[in-house]
Amino acid sequence: METITECDWWWIDFLEDELEASLEKDIELLLEKSQEDRDNFETFRLLRKWVKESDSVNEAEIEAHAVRMRAGVMEAIAKEEPIKVGKTKDWKNWNREISPAL
């Protein structure tokens, strides 16, 4: 299990532009004064970069499949009855009804 320090959370929030404004001065001071903190921040920055680069999704392949899929969807819904407007069913649970394993 990972050991979490408050500082770790600060670095992550800082990277994500989610850090509380009141902490920004403290972070700047840490980065300026401490090599250990600079290294720690750099580790998170690089980790995020590597994760981003590890994505296996190929945009061109996705696009090709999307085009084919759209045609399939439109063909299927062409056969459907027009949508009935005005149902008052419990909308919150409809997804659970058709996907009961949620």
Partner: protein, 201 residues
């Protein structure tokens, strides 16, 4: 350009072509999310197609309390889970993936390149953490959007993301083959394969 809600209203008024405009906006996102779970683009295409047809059939129940994209995402997630529950309990792990690191993993990663190691470690994250991480880093969603998609509070979405990143950091730091944390990470036996990844990527 019409908003999603306006297009949905058009569909509800009988204009099926408006649904195609909605699909074009969201289908690539759905395909990417699902293929990261299935690791099979053909299966992902099938699942997302099914998702979109279900969404069309139940569109009258969408009231716009959450974004249309997050509504579609929920359907896609459930459709994926149901599909794999039917076909195999082993092919996909979208739940309870909080696996312990065993001794074999360390040896195994020596033969893999950095991308593969990371993919493997991301796969091992608990489902909610993996969700938050991939939506944030791969899809560049805000935590507000992630919270909507995960149907959880904002702080929970953020906490899942933080834990995911910390867990990955811990696992990589514990990896004996990782020599340095640098712009171009090097593994002791696989510098060549990492360079190959750079070329391919």
């Amino acid at each position: 350009m019409k908003t999603d809600l306006e297009l949905i209203q058009d569909v509800k008024n009988g204009d099926k072509t408006a649904f195609e405009k909605l699909i074009v906006r969201h289908d690539r996102f759905l395909l990417k999310v699902v293929v990261r779970m299935t690791r099979d683009l053909n299966a992902a295409e099938d699942i997302v197609q099914d998702t979109l047809i279900k969404a069309f059939k139940r569109l009258e129940l969408f009231e716009g309390r959450a974004s249309f994209r997050s509504w579609l995402y929920q359907i896609a997630l459930n459709t994926t889970r149901n599909r794999f529950r039917k076909t195999s309990r082993e092919t996909i792990g979208t739940e309870n993936l909080d696996m312990a690191v065993d001794g074999e993993i360390e040896n195994h990663v020596l033969t893999l390149d950095v991308r593969e190691v990371l993919q493997e470690e991301i796969e091992k994250l608990p489902a909610r953490q993996k969700q938050a991480l991939t939506l944030r880093i791969f899809e560049d969603l805000s935590f507000k959007e992630i919270a909507q998609m995960m149907e959880c509070p904002y702080d929970t979405a953020k906490a899942n993301y933080r834990h995911a990143l910390l867990k990955l950091k811990g696992r990589l730091e514990g990896n004996v083959s990782l020599k340095t944390w640098s712009e171009q990470p090097k593994f002791s036996l696989t510098d060549l394969s990492f360079n190959q990844m750079e070329v391919d990527g």
